[in-house]
Point group: C2
Chain length 193, copies 2
DNA sequence: AAAAGTGATTGATCTATGTTAAGAAAAAAA
DNA sequence: TTTTTTTCTTAACATAGATCAATCACTTTT
């Protein structure tokens, strides 16, 4: 059960068996059915999650009640609302399973304990956050400077399986366009080949 | 010279005099004239910077050679290209002074040394990055869900002095619109009052 | 002061994407 | 298999913001 998360952590820091034991003893396993929420907007996010299998989306509703998807979290990714976790304020995002999904959750207080007792994790989550930040910046840069069509193609290239696993209107919500527009873009692309 | 940065760090962690001494001994002071670059796109970013006074912009050129401003860094802010700093790859952003500016720079290798000898800084930069990430997410959320006019008003509210310190076409580049559009928005707003 | 440069405004027109509304297709439920 | 629900497509029209081009208002430089 912990093999995947161990491999994920090992990529950035090296731990003794004992340290990993200590870390994993705090993890809580959770199964979600498709469409079930891991977090609702407005609730306090008290955890950081690791996706063992399945897929989730992190999204929010804008002032016109339209959904925007911040990102998809597939297996081997970390998931959570960092804003809520750090500030203790109600979550600005909701997190929902797009498939039956298995996650490992680390409670906020437990994480603090780990930071204090195994400082290497301070480094691990610093690097994790920095990478997430960088990836997000990249995504936004692209969004700013490319057309919706280019963004769609880039997404397909990055996640070749996404069209099979995520409905098209969710992909549209991720790209920041309407399902109708995405449909037109796909039609255009099909034409070009 | 180090009063400001000390106060800034003290907000998040507590250090002994000796620890801060050790930290500040690595800092390098640098003066920039208006329009001078702190970092060029393509160069390696080997530092993290703290703005003592003045103002910088972090920007990039998109595939159509148009400039997009990621953010402005006023006094008491941290500045740098995290992507380049962490990966060692050439910078994707350029950083330029919009006014005569004074910064304190911490070299990449020195920072690693500090992480190893004063682990509290590991925490400091973790929190700093997390906050930057959160703020950036917020900005992008707003950009996604608000009109250009709403975004402009929100910016004025957040930085009431910005219209006096930053040329209008730079503000447009930050908002992701053309200077012409911003000019029209301002005209509309003036009309409404 | 005149000239040159930089930044801001305005108008006319264009374009990508949104909106609304209707069906078609596919998937899930019965 | 039939029915119901969900997802995707298509078409007509609307709109925010872009583009192009000209002019205006400052500021520097000469």
């Amino acid at each position: 059960m912990f093999d995947q998360i161990k491999a994920n952590i090992d990529k950035k820091i090296s731990l003794t068996e004992e340290e990993f034991q200590r870390f994993s003893s705090f993890l809580k396993f959770k199964k979600l059915r498709k469409k079930q929420h891991l977090l609702f907007e407005g609730d306090k996010c008290e955890f950081t999650g690791f996706v063992n299998s399945g897929c989730l989306r992190t999204y929010f509703l804008d002032s016109h009640a339209k959904e925007h998807i911040i990102n998809f979290s597939f297996e081997d990714w970390w998931v959570g609302d960092l804003y809520s976790l750090l500030t203790g304020n109600p979550a600005i995002y909701a997190i929902e399973a797009l498939e039956d999904t298995e996650v490992l959750l680390m409670g906020k207080d437990d994480l603090e304990t780990i930071y204090d007792t195994i400082p290497k994790f301070e480094r691990f989550f610093r690097i994790l956050t920095q990478n997430a930040y960088i990836a997000f910046q990249r995504r936004v840069m692209d969004n700013f400077s490319q057309t919706a069509e280019e963004n769609y193609q880039a997404l397909l290239k990055k996640f070749p399986f996404i069209a099979q696993r995520v409905p098209q209107y969710q992909i549209a919500a991720y790209l920041g366009i309407t399902p109708e527009s995405l449909s037109r873009i796909r039609k255009d692309l099909a034409h070009k080949h």
